[in-house]
């Protein structure tokens, strides 16, 4: 019997020129941080990629001051047309250097190169292009009368889509005339630092974008700094709540994009083969490190066993391994801490009585890895149906009627996204109306576009990013 063995097809690392250490990007220049430096590693091999500075309170203060100066002296006085020119320039440079960014993103984050190459980086550039177009048209964006910037924006982004989240945050902030202090996640700071080079290359006025690296305390310093006018955070619900508490009673505004436990709902009249693809894309895309991942599969009882067997067969063809190999479908778990959390929750799933299955693929000996895993026989009270696992783990639940599907889908403190699979258009509309989720996909999943707003209900946060709606949090309006 012949076997189609795919020979290794690694993307070359040569395109990335990594420095051994990186400083903080403040006022248009790289400066040493005063904290204890830390290492950024490749989660696929645990190889040290670079040393990164830690920003202390004093460093954050310097960054906020630089941003304030840039705001009052340059950026707030510049016409929207000219701000747009800078954003277009950044977008074009991102496209020109796309391969470099994609390789570095896969190295630092562990995600497959096919995703960073085809999704993360092109979408990041697209967000800059999209927001560049709004920069001189804000009065016509239906934001309210006299839209104007807040001033200095503090932005804290997660490790799952480092460049894409940076673009979601920085592009609308700059388009609306704010200046930025951004902190990338401590496990994935490198593409943000490469972006700092892009800001230099684009001749962006110093201080308009400042990038400070570090962990929780650095983020805390941004949140607490009196010179910050607005905060934008993407990350866990726990940290989001801390931020909300910290800024209550202050004049600071915030948008929070937090966790999710999305239901992907498959009806018996669904296009089954495409639904299976949608389920796979929903939970195994980016190793399941996706806040809007379809981590709960709600499947109509009459087709549950068929969907289950088709899904398992499909998972047998998923290729898990070297993130830089062009044929890799599922890469490495981003960090040991995240792997530990996934292991703990899946152990709990087994302990609570759900049936565990994984695709049995070989895993590399070094680095952080987890096999694509499916739990069947899951009920709403299991922790794996309630808590965000943020890994390649799917919980399968069943339902009998559309009403039951809605009730179960909404029976979660989260409300970021949901998916509906049915050939019946009227049911799609009815379901979309009932589901308490910021994004509802019909017969597809995990589709993103700069023109489309994104954000959550309930504990998944507040505020919208992307589209015209994504400009709103970055402006104040009225007299």
């Amino acid at each position: 019997m012949p076997t189609f063995e795919y020979a290794p097809a690694p993307e070359s690392r040569a395109v990335v020129d990594l420095q051994s250490s990186y400083g903080l990007f403040i006022n248009g220049e790289f400066v040493d941080g005063s904290g204890t430096g830390f290492k950024s590693i490749s989660p696929a091999t645990e190889e040290v990629l670079a040393e990164v500075s830690e920003a202390t309170d004093a460093d954050v203060d310097a960054a906020v001051r630089a941003a304030r100066t840039a705001y009052t002296r340059v950026w707030s006085r510049m016409s929207g047309t000219d701000r747009g020119k800078y954003l277009y320039r950044i977008a074009r440079i991102l496209q020109e250097r796309a391969r470099e960014f994609a390789v570095l993103e896969s190295l630092d984050n562990g995600k497959p190169i096919k995703e960073s190459r085809d999704i993360d980086i092109p979408l990041a550039a697209a967000h800059f292009f999209y927001n560049a177009g709004w920069a001189d048209k804000l009065e016509y964006a239906s934001l309210g009368t006299n839209p104007r910037p807040h001033g200095v924006v503090g932005q804290i982004i997660p490790w799952n889509f480092p460049m894409l989240m940076l673009a979601w945050k920085i592009a609308p902030a700059l388009a609306t005339g704010n200046t930025v202090v951004l902190k990338p996640a401590e496990t994935t700071p490198l593409t943000a630092l490469l972006f700092a080079e892009v800001c230099q290359q684009a001749d962006l006025p110093p201080g308009v974008v400042n990038i400070v690296t570090g962990a929780g305390p650095t983020g805390q310093a941004i949140v607490d700094h009196a010179g910050i006018d607005k905060l934008a955070f993407t990350g866990s619900t726990g940290v989001g709540k801390m931020i909300a508490r910290a800024i209550s009673g202050t004049r600071k505004k915030a948008t929070l994009e937090l966790g999710g436990k999305a239901a992907n709902i498959v009806f018996d009249d669904a296009p089954i083969d495409q639904a299976v693809e949608g389920i796979v894309n929903g939970i195994f895309f980016n190793q399941g490190h996706v806040c809007c991942a379809g981590s709960r599969l709600l499947v109509q009882e009459s087709i549950a066993s068929e969907v289950e067997s088709r899904l398992k067969r499909r998972l047998g063809t998923l290729r898990v391994g070297d993130p830089l190999d062009k044929n890799t479908d599922v890469g490495a778990i981003n960090s040991r801490a995240q792997l530990d959390r996934i292991v703990a929750l899946t152990d709990a799933g087994e302990g609570e009585g759900a049936t565990r299955w994984d695709n049995g693929c070989e895993l590399p000996s070094k680095g952080f890895w987890f096999r694509p895993t499916v739990f069947t026989g899951v009920t709403q009270t299991h922790r794996i149906a309630q808590e965000e696992i943020f890994g390649p783990v799917l919980s399968v639940l069943t339902f009998r009627t559309p009403q039951e599907a809605v009730a179960k889908a909404n029976n979660t403190p989260y409300g970021l996204s949901a998916g509906i699979w049915t050939e019946k258009g009227s049911r799609i509309l009815w379901m979309a109306d009932q589901l308490k989720a910021g994004v509802v996909w019909a017969n597809t999943f995990n589709q993103f576009d700069p023109t489309s707003p994104f954000g959550g209900y309930k504990e998944s946060g507040y505020g919208r990013e992307g589209g015209r709606h994504g400009l709103e949090p970055y402006v104040k309006t009225g007299a």
Binding site: M1, E5, A7, D118, G278
Partner: protein
């Protein structure tokens, strides 16, 4: 709904009995067939095309590329289906099948030579017992617009002349008007007269247009006894696209799960480059599985594809691109 066909009742007895059994009905009516075919899960066009595009991004390099090129060569039905075909041209094609690359005798041979019925004898004589099969198009190819008697005579004629495989066309008019029973009966009747020859059922997917139709036609063809389901005649555009082939591969996979019977797949028309061929093989491997990675179960209907595969094969063995002048061909393309 009743339909009239001018078939002898006995012709399709076996297939009909099998179909009744599978559908769980006492009488195989058009209504029963319609219910069954329309009960198949739908195909979401966007999702299907996205899946095919995703498979198309697989990067096949070095040893796996070498392996895939040889496999693809061995899966070709080397085809000439022109009004201007002559015995000389068919002999030239047969010679090419026997010795695809005179500069490298390790080159595998294509699976078959595919010709019109009147050329079967010539092809058979040229190919002898080489193992390269002779496939004949029949049943008033390519339109299929002839009486059943003519279609059966066309088939018998080719089989009698020694054809190992028969490539028939379905009545797309009947299919599109919802007369599935006629399509079923015709396939079953042709299968009956094929004897030992394997039957490929050409659905002409470019005329069926929707993926739902492709899925239904695939299941109908398999139910009626087709040994292969084939996309196209090559005379209609679009011909063999990757998404259509993907739907057909899902169909043969699911059909085997249901019946334990394996059916082959043949995309034909429009596959011209090695890169394209490899995308199809990736799709075969990841959708239907490795059991189909064999020229008994998967074929490419093509004419110019072989030369590009040979060019790539030479490139991989010598490390340099040659060019059309180094690909011996009895009817060289002017494109080189």
């Amino acid at each position: 709904m009743s339909t009239s066909t001018d078939l002898p009742v006995a012709a399709a007895t076996d297939a009909t009995a099998r179909a009744r059994d599978l559908l769980g009905v006492t009488r195989l009516t058009n209504q029963a067939l319609t219910r069954w075919l329309h009960g198949l899960p739908g195909v979401d066009q966007v999702g299907c095309e996205a899946r095919a595009a995703g498979l198309g991004t697989r990067s096949i390099k070095t040893t796996s590329k070498q392996w895939a090129i040889d496999l693809a060569i061995s899966m070709i039905d080397l085809t000439t289906l022109e009004g201007a075909d002559t015995k000389g041209r068919v002999r030239g094609l047969a010679a090419k099948a026997l010795l695809p690359d005179p500069s490298d005798l390790s080159t595998p041979r294509p699976a078959a030579v595919c010709v019109y019925g009147d050329m079967v004898e010539t092809a058979k004589a040229a190919l002898g017992d080489s193992g390269v099969k002779v496939a004949a198009v029949a049943t008033a190819f390519p339109s299929g617009r002839a009486s059943m008697a003519v279609k059966l005579a066309d088939t018998k004629d080719a089989v009698k002349a020694g054809a190992d495989e028969i490539d028939m066309v379905i009545d797309r008019g009947a299919f599109l008007s919802g007369d599935y029973l006629t399509v079923f009966n015709q396939i079953a009747a042709v299968k009956q007269v094929c004897g030992d020859a394997r039957l490929k059922v050409i659905m002409e997917t470019g005329e069926l247009v929707t993926y739902d139709n492709v899925r239904r036609a695939s299941w109908l063809s398999m139910l009626a006894g087709g040994d292969f389901i084939k996309t196209s005649t090559g005379k209609i555009q679009p011909a063999a696209t990757l998404p259509v082939t993907l739907i057909m591969l899902e169909a043969v996979r699911d059909w085997r799960d249901l019946t334990n019977r394996q059916v082959g797949v043949k995309p034909a028309g429009g596959i011209k480059t090695s890169k394209d061929a490899i995308k199809f093989l990736v799709t075969v491997s990841e959708i239907a599985g490795e059991d189909w990675l064999d020229n008994h179960w998967f074929r490419f209907g093509a004419s110019s594809l072989l030369n590009d595969l040979l060019l790539q094969r030479q490139r991989m063995s010598t490390g340099a691109y040659s060019g059309g002048s180094y690909i011996a061909d009895d009817s060289p393309s002017t494109a080189y």
